[in-house]
């Protein structure tokens, strides 16, 4: 029963990690945007001068929230852009497997075993070292467009 519930919730979560449309001209710095099918955080936005029909173009520079790669796009300000739904959820770290997966416990008491150690080596090391030292670690999992990744680690003291 508990297992069933867990699966159901997991599905509902990925269903929510989609995108919604938003007019380009209203997207500001530090907001999220999809560029070349990747969820990005906007680090720079500039708007061109308006021509006869009131058209202006928005130039976005975004950083892929998972890979850190820089992406750029130019969109008419009146057009809609896809904006990713980005969620952050905190979990307690239970285990790190030899295969590089982590086992996480949600505040509802569910466990989750499909997340890998982050690509960010500093963050991954912080996790591994803290775990070996027997610290209690809280991790923040960021999810967007069906992808999930550990984005932050917090040491909440010894176990």
């Amino acid at each position: 029963m508990a297992d069933e519930e867990h699966h159901f919730e997991h599905k509902a979560d990925s269903g929510a990690s989609k995108t919604f449309p938003q007019q380009a001209g209203t997207i500001r710095k530090n907001a999220f945007i999809v560029i070349k099918s990747r969820p990005c955080k906007v680090v720079e936005v500039s708007t061109s001068k308006t021509g006869k029909h009131g058209h202006a173009k928005c130039h976005f520079v975004g950083i892929d929230i998972f890979t850190g790669k820089k992406l750029e796009d130019i969109v008419p300000s009146s057009h809609n852009c896809d904006v990713p739904e980005v969620t952050r959820t905190d979990y307690t770290l239970l285990d790190i497997t030899d295969e590089g997966f982590v086992s996480l416990l949600s505040d509802k008491g569910d466990t989750m075993d499909h997340i890998r150690l982050p690509n960010d080596t500093a963050l991954a090391n912080q996790l591994k070292e803290g775990y070996s030292a027997g610290k209690e670690l809280m991790v923040t999992v960021m999810s967007a467009m069906g992808e999930e990744q550990i984005a932050a680690v917090k040491d909440v003291g010894p176990k």
Partner: protein
């Protein structure tokens, strides 16, 4: 709008006024100046109100209206009053006075509301209603304005963000395009079908027909776009049809390409309509209309011919990979 150096404005002014330059180059200077803050940019556009090209002069009047600088009211009034000026320029001066929206323009707009030029008269009637509508909003609070009106009253510069925060403060709806429209959009509660029939009903008041059109533009669904475009063929008002062509250029949908091409090619249409159709085709930038625009670049009507040249320039700009700045204020050679 942006602060631009005096030298850059002077260069743009020179380009705008230089009759030996090709029209597309003068047009880019025109719309660059439209984005510049300050008296020098405004005065450059005012100087071009008496240009021998009615096309260029009327778009200077248009740009002055979009800038909403009350300092342009006196020259625009003089343009409207002068019956020797091309009707298209007078019409645009009246529309610009409406866009600036100051109640002190009401008397002159009333004077020309029965002008012998139908386009000038109808534009004055629209401008009168726009100013009255805005005054009503100001006095009646936001509840009267829920159905539209993208700017709050006032002589401020209307940058994108400024406009947005002002309208948000007033609780009213902003145009998805950075344009100051001659009327607010009709209430969003009307169905697309109802809006199209209102737009096409010549027994209805022009102000309300315009409002229907702007709501359809903001909706921009295929049904709304085809509804707007159908007016090009079905309606008899040149004024309405020219605005129809303009909003189709704003929407930039390929669905409007065929009706706009037909309007440009139809020599029975008013030059004002053919001109707006050409410029809308430039904005939509469909490759299908390059040939047509090229062929009408030598139309005997200069307003049409020059519009086609300007449209081709816009089309080529829009077709470039990474095209960003049509009307740059960082002046290059």
């Amino acid at each position: 709008m942006v602060e631009v150096s005096a030298e850059a404005v002077a260069t743009l002014r020179q380009r705008l006024l230089d009759q030996s330059l090709p029209m597309p180059k003068r047009y880019r200077a025109l719309f660059s100046l439209r984005n510049c803050r300050g008296d020098a940019a405004r005065e450059a556009l005012v100087a071009a109100l008496s240009d021998p090209s009615a096309l260029l002069a009327h778009d200077c009047a248009f740009a002055l209206g979009q800038m909403q600088d009350p300092g342009a009211m006196a020259p625009l009034q003089r343009t409207l009053e002068d019956r020797s000026v091309h009707a298209m320029v007078r019409h645009e001066a009246a529309e610009a006075l409406g866009a600036i929206g100051q109640p002190e323009c009401l008397p002159i707009l009333r004077t020309f509301a029965e002008d012998s030029s139908k386009e000038v008269a109808e534009t004055c009637q629209l401008a009168l209603k726009r100013i009255e509508w805005r005054e009503k909003c100001k006095n009646g609070g936001k509840k009267n304005c829920q159905s539209g009106g993208q700017q709050s009253p006032g002589p401020q510069d209307h940058d994108h963000e400024e406009q947005e925060s002002e309208s948000a403060a007033a609780g009213v709806e902003r145009s998805p395009f950075l344009s100051v429209d001659p009327t607010p959009p009709a209430p969003d509660s009307l169905s697309t079908e109802e809006l199209v029939s209102l737009l096409l009903d010549s027994s209805k008041d022009m102000f309300d027909r315009y409002r229907a059109m702007f709501r359809l533009r903001n909706r921009a669904t295929p049904e709304a776009i085809c509804g707007i475009a159908s007016a090009l063929e079905k309606d008899s008002s040149a004024l309405l049809k020219h605005e129809v062509a303009y909003v189709l250029g704003q929407i930039q949908s390929d669905l409007a390409v065929q009706p706009l091409m037909a309007a440009l090619a139809d020599k029975g249409q008013h030059p004002m309509v053919r001109h707006e159709a050409a410029e809308a085709l430039g904005a939509i930038a469909s490759k299908d209309c390059v040939q047509l625009l090229e062929s009408f670049s030598s139309d005997p009507e200069p307003v049409v011919a020059h519009s086609c040249e300007v449209a081709l320039d816009v089309l080529h700009f829009e077709s470039q990979e990474g095209a960003f700045q049509y009307a740059d204020v960082a002046v290059q050679g």
